[in-house]
């Protein structure tokens, strides 16, 4: 009986050593997924996900703390890409796809305070102090930050209008 205890104990020591070595050998630094995920994120640092920016958001996703659907500007496409990367399945029907919008400055209301100009994370607003500001629609991500700060409420978020080049068939109504 005693030999049994010894033998199994020795077995334990042996395996412990093996695992100890293995943990050294296979040590991983950080989570390499993080970087790959950050690549996928919009990168506008808008903070709508509730994280301070895309970097921390990426970390949260990589560690499984945030759902892949966390980024509103990314929409379904991003959720799908993240799900693919993370190897999880998501119910995309839950993801609300906001109609894309861009900021529009009503010129007669703009007093040139430069607040929006300073807040815009993508430099989509042009104009200097006391000048009328305008939004460069191609760079605007519709993050609504300027909308939030404008003291005269001269900014309107407008849906992007389709034209012949951008129109496409809608999904057929579900049967």
């Amino acid at each position: 009986m005693f030999s049994a205890i010894l033998i199994i104990g020795a077995l334990g020591v042996l395996m412990g050593t093996a695992l100890g070595f293995a943990s050294r050998f296979f040590a991983v630094e950080g989570n390499p997924l993080e970087g790959e995920i950050e690549e996928l994120l919009p990168g506008s640092q808008c903070g709508q996900c509730g994280y301070p920016g895309c970097g921390p958001a990426a970390a949260a996703v990589a560690n499984g703390e945030a759902p892949v659907t966390m980024c509103p500007p990314g929409g379904k496409a991003l959720a799908e890409a993240l799900a693919e990367k993370m190897g999880v399945s998501v119910d995309l029907s839950e993801v609300e796809e906001k109609a894309p919008v861009v900021a529009f400055v009503h010129e007669h209301l703009c007093v040139g305070c430069t607040k929006c100009f300073k807040r815009c994370p993508t430099d989509a607003i042009i104009g200097g102090p006391k000048q009328i500001h305008a939004v460069f629609a191609d760079a605007c991500t519709g993050c609504e930050k300027c909308f939030d700060v404008c003291p005269t409420e001269c900014i309107e978020m407008r849906p992007i209008q389709a034209n012949l080049q951008t129109w496409y068939w809608p999904m057929p109504a579900a049967a």
Binding site: S3, A4, I7, I8, L11, G12, M15, A18, L19, A22, S23, F25, F26, A27, V28, N31, P32, L33, K85, M86, G87, V88, S89
Partner: protein
């Protein structure tokens, strides 16, 4: 021929998952996607075969000669746990995505009942080394087969218009049930 029969019978007739009810949690957990299912199947195949081998060694060189039958579960599970942990570390290092996918299920291969179950069954049936290996491999094959078929079915179900009360886990159980129903057709296959 005889060896083929062992593999066939363990993989199909006495399928670990559908007939013996072993390894169900990974079946449910890692079958959302075909790719992850394949990965899990391969990982399990590796662990299962290795565990069958290691447990045979233990049984024949330690437990049997010393008459320590009562330590069987303990030692087997220990060996399995070590093999799995080793695999986990290796996967984590070599393929972060696979690691992410297999997630909590890699450590849980330890308690994938199938692994211990097969090791114990090997002892119960007094299998020789080669038979034990084949038995382990066959079971793992059966596991992988069912896992992959199941994953295929679930991918298809993800596109189907399943009523909300059943969508997700319930319908997966139902499909497992119907697969197990189908596998009953193999009953008696090897007994003649």
């Amino acid at each position: 021929m005889e060896y083929l029969l062992i593999i066939l019978s363990t993989a199909l007739v006495n399928n670990v998952v559908l007939v013996k009810f072993l390894g169900l949690c990974p079946l449910m957990g890692v079958s959302n996607k075909l790719d992850s299912a394949l990965g899990m199947g391969l990982a399990t195949t590796f662990v299962l075969t290795l565990a069958a081998f290691a447990s045979w060694l233990l049984e024949h060189f330690v437990l049997g000669p010393l008459n320590l039958g009562f330590l069987r579960i303990l030692t087997f599970i220990l060996v399995i746990a070590v093999v799995v942990q080793f695999t986990e570390m290796a996967v984590r290092k070599t393929s972060p995505t696979l690691y992410q996918v297999l997630g909590i299920f890699l450590p849980l291969i330890t308690t994938n009942c199938a692994v211990l179950g097969v090791a114990l069954l090997n002892v119960q049936q007094d299998n020789g080394l080669l038979e034990s290996l084949l038995y382990g491999f066959g079971s793992a094959l059966g596991f992988t087969l069912v896992l992959v078929m199941f994953a295929g079915l679930r991918e298809r179900l993800a596109l189907a218009n399943v009523p909300t009360a059943f969508a997700g886990a319930p319908i997966a159980y139902l499909v497992a049930g119907l697969m197990s129903l189908a596998f009953m057709g193999f009953a008696g296959l090897t007994s003649g």
